[in-house]
């Protein structure tokens, strides 16, 4: 039993964080440079668990939590799953299907979208030109899929769990980002002649953010190692990880806006970017509560 990252994993995590802060800062998530997607591919992040790299889901979840911290493009989630379980190259946009409509996030350059509905991973063919524009999540261009042909299921049943795990990792990263942004602001913003983080009312909001992030990250590690072991409990633990990570991302994002006060209400400040990303992630590979009542 060991639920801490080993030396190699820590090195990879550190290198990922360094690259992201240099090349893919959260502050630029609304308009990524054209080359970002290609560079993410070159870094190997979209093929980590494929046969060529052969890394485990524990390592992958660790790295995706880092990517999530910088609000990296959401198509990395669907593309990593698409490549792993269909053996195909290329980009898969992220599909979010409801009874009424299929929404596609991040479709630029993708001919297919992948999402989870009714517990299964499904592939949707995309028309040549999809008119995507920023929706609620300003870092993810969104398009409505016009009355499409029936989606094709991904054959391997583990694909749905994989997408859920990676989305949970992104949400853990989002929760971390909101926590760190809030704590940093509480250290510098002064009122009553001292940093607002001096006051327990603010300090305790920050502490609760740290608890939520730590709870979600711990369950993420456990769930990833259960998936690696192909354990019978993996689906249940991934469902728990997704639920707790989504809650942590959303609640930390809300708390971060409160800590920022008036500036947190502005479009030019960054706290709302985490909130909006958290809302989007909540709809990715949602796990019903039934998985937790088995």
């Amino acid at each position: 039993m060991d639920l801490t990252p080993n030396e190699d994993q820590l090195a990879l995590q550190g290198a990922t964080a360094d690259w992201c802060s240099d090349n893919m800062p959260l502050e630029q998530c609304r308009a990524r440079p054209a080359g970002t997607w290609r560079q993410m591919g070159e870094m190997g992040w979209l093929d980590m668990t494929g046969p060529a790299m052969g890394l485990d889901h524990g390592t992958e979840a660790l790295i995706f939590a880092e990517l999530g911290r910088f609000l990296a493009p959401v198509a990395a989630l669907s593309t990593a799953v698409y490549r792993r379980w269909t053996g195909t190259e290329g980009k898969a946009a992220l599909a979010i299907a409801s009874l009424q409509a299929v929404r596609v996030a991040d479709p630029d350059g993708a001919s297919v979208a992948l999402g989870v509905a009714d517990g299964r991973a499904l592939l949707y063919g995309l028309p040549d030109a999809l008119d995507a524009a920023p929706g609620l999540d300003l870092s993810s261009p969104l398009a409505l899929l016009p009355g499409a042909a029936a989606p094709q299921p991904v054959q391997d049943g583990r694909a749905a769990a994989h997408l859920r795990l990676l989305a949970a990792a992104y949400a853990v990263g989002c929760a971390d980002a909101a926590r760190d942004m809030g704590a940093a602001y509480a250290c510098t913003r002064e009122q009553f002649d001292r940093p607002i983080g001096w006051f327990q009312s603010i300090k305790h909001i920050c502490a609760d953010m740290a608890v939520r992030a730590s709870v979600a990250r711990s369950q993420l590690y456990y769930a990833a190692s259960a998936l690696d072991a192909d354990d019978a409990s993996a689906d249940m633990h991934i469902a728990a990880a997704k639920r707790l990570a989504d809650q942590a991302a959303l609640e930390n994002s809300r708390a971060n806006i409160q800590i920022h006060g008036g500036i947190g209400m502005t479009d030019e400040a960054y706290p709302h970017l985490c909130l909006k990303r958290a809302h989007l992630l909540g709809f990715v590979a949602k796990a019903g509560r039934e998985a937790l009542l088995q």
């Binding site: 039993m1 994993q9 983080g197 740290a210 608890v211 369950q219 190692s225 509560r289 937790l292």
Partner: protein, 383 residues
């Protein structure tokens, strides 16, 4: 990352399970502190004789010197088997003993540690005072030095099992006029010393297992100071992260049992069909899973680095809050039957009432949040 235990660890787990199955006392642990202590001593002695006491304590003091993961396995199996609450041995085994291991002289360790493991020494804690609760550094109970003795005057409070304990870990102000964290000493006090008066206090659940202790010119040999005169704060803090991390694994396993029982009974009664109840149980179950994952992460950290991370406060805060929410759901599901509770009962209502202590004792939830904010997130210190 691996959540699975090694084959050797699995074999150890089976050994624990087999022994517990054959040896758990059939009679229930008495509720009354005085009767309970005889029970606790006898049970601790059986654990020691069979090699289950001090699994990760150094072997030269009667322990087995095994890695911390084995202690975790034992505690998991212990709780899973519904073995008796460690009760009056809690402070000696989980707090006093580990503090001695880290800070005491060879002589002190050689005399006290084996006696703690064998159940021959019951320990109690003397930290809090009527005027020093969350503000622990406000300790006023003081000792003057006369020859080779300390002479103690003052009072301690919330001392569990004070009326039956043999020894006390006592933090005193040994330097006249000293302030806050300075001038304190951590001292081993013989509870049978002349001048000690114990006044038991009844809890909201009916038990009288904690007490206020009064000291009137109590004489303690200077040789009983641990870690040197004036170093009491450092000595006391050396085991707090232990208390906040791995000291509560049994309690965490019990939470897991409690939520599984709630799920089973809600399914049997049909109440799982109510959406809000199903939602609450699903949420609590996810959090109980995460608590185990957090504990494993913390243990892994200890195994890798030799130190529990600062995350121990996070675990303590999260687990105490989770425990209270599980107990509140149990109460909500029980309906009007909770009104039939009487002092002397020992059931989930007792747990609910005693559960209010977990966000107060050993550093209140508010103090834990201060620690997390200041030590983990680097926010400015308020005090």
């Amino acid at each position: 990352m691996r959540f699975q235990f090694s084959d050797e660890d699995q074999r150890f787990r089976e050994e624990c399970r087999d022994w517990l199955e054959d040896n758990i006392p059939r009679e229930k642990r008495p509720l009354n502190a005085v009767d309970a202590v005889d029970f606790d001593r006898a049970w601790q002695r059986r654990l020691f004789d069979a090699g289950w006491a001090g699994i990760n304590w150094p072997s030269e003091y009667g322990g087995r010197g095994l890695p911390i993961v084995r202690q975790v396995i034992w505690l998991e199996e212990y709780a899973r088997a519904h073995a008796p609450w460690i009760g009056s041995n809690f402070v000696g085994i989980n707090h006093g003993g580990p503090t001695l291991i880290l800070n005491a002289s060879e002589e002190q360790k050689a005399w006290h540690l084996p006696r703690i493991l064998k159940g021959e020494s019951i320990w109690c804690q003397g930290f809090s005072e009527p005027g020093a609760g969350s503000d622990l550094a406000g300790i006023k109970t003081k000792a003057r030095i006369e020859g080779d003795e300390l002479v103690v005057n003052g009072s301690k409070i919330w001392t569990s099992y004070a009326q039956v304990a043999d020894w006390q870990e006592l933090v005193l102000r040994t330097e006249e006029g000293s302030q806050r964290h300075k001038g304190l000493s951590w001292v081993i006090c013989d509870m049978r010393s002349p001048g000690i008066t114990v006044r038991p206090i009844q809890k909201i659940s009916g038990q009288t297992e904690f007490a206020q202790v009064f000291y009137d010119d109590v004489r303690i040999p200077l040789a009983n100071v641990v870690g040197g005169l004036g170093n009491g704060w450092k000595v006391a803090m050396s085991t707090l992260s232990f208390e906040r991390g791995t000291g509560f694994i049994g309690e965490q396993v019990k939470l897991s049992q409690d939520i599984e029982e709630l799920l089973d009974s809600a399914r049997a009664s049909g109440r799982l069909g109510e959406a809000d109840i199903a939602e609450q149980i699903a949420q609590l179950r996810a959090e109980v899973f995460a608590l185990r994952a957090m504990t494993y992460r913390n243990i892994s950290e200890v195994a890798r680095t030799g130190q529990p991370g600062p995350e121990a406060s996070v675990i303590r805060l999260f687990s105490s809050d989770l425990r209270q929410r599980i107990e509140r759901l149990a109460i909500a599901l029980a309906g009007e039957t909770v009104l039939d509770f009487r002092y002397g009962d020992d059931d989930f209502i007792t747990d609910y009432l005693l559960g209010f202590a977990v966000t107060i004792a050993g550093g209140s939830a508010q103090i834990q949040r201060d620690i997390i904010g200041e030590r983990l997130l680097g926010l400015p210190k308020s005090r």
